[in-house]
Symmetry: C2
DNA sequence: TAATTTTTACTGCTATAACAGTAATTGATG
DNA sequence: CATCAATTACTGTTATAGCAGTAAAAATTA
C-alpha cells in the first residue's frame, strides 16, 4: 500500500520510455521540478500533476478495497 | 483509467463506514473542504491528503502498466 | 411538517506547491 | 581524462489548495 516506491517506479518507466525528466515534464505539461519531486516520493504533489505524468507513461491507477474486491 | 469516478467511490465507502464528511476529515487529519473536494472529483487535491483519506477507508492504490503486468 | 443532521456552497486568509532560472553534481560518451 | 548530457539541488516569485467559519440547501429523522 504505502511502502511501495512510486518514485522509482515512475523513474524506471520513464527510463524505459527513453525520456529525460524534462521531456517527461513537457509531455505531461508540468514543470521539471514536479517530475523531480514525484520521483523523490514527495507526497504533497497535486493529484492532477501526478495523473498527467502517469498518463504519459501509460500507467493506470486502481483503487482496491476489501469490499468491492 | 480516467473516467472512473473516484469521488463517488470514496463517498460510497465513507457511507458504508458510517462516517460523515466531517468525521472522515477529522480521522484523516484534513479539512472538511478537502473531503468535499475529493468526493467532487477535484483533481487538484494534494496526493498526501487523498492518501490520508484512502487510508482511513482502507482503500489501497495500485499502479498498473503494460510492462510489469 | 418541524427539527436535526448532513452536505453543498462561498469567503478571506495563510501556507506552500509549482514554476523558471540557475548552479552544482552525477553520469555517459568520445 | 575531457565534454556533454542528465539529474539533483536551491532560489525567489506566483498561483492556489487547504483551512475555519458561516450559511444555505438537501437529506434524514421524529
Amino acid at each position: 500500500m504505502d511502502d511501495f516506491d512510486l518514485g522509482t517506479f515512475i523513474k524506471d518507466h520513464r527510463k524505459k520510455a527513453g525520456l529525460t525528466q524534462l521531456e517527461l515534464a513537457d509531455l505531461a505539461g508540468v514543470g521539471k521540478t514536479t517530475v523531480f519531486d514525484i520521483e523523490k516520493n514527495k507526497e504533497t504533489v497535486r493529484l492532477n500533476n501526478l495523473l498527467a505524468v502517469l498518463r504519459v507513461l501509460n500507467i493506470k491507477l486502481e483503487f482496491k478495497s476489501p469490499l468491492n474486491k
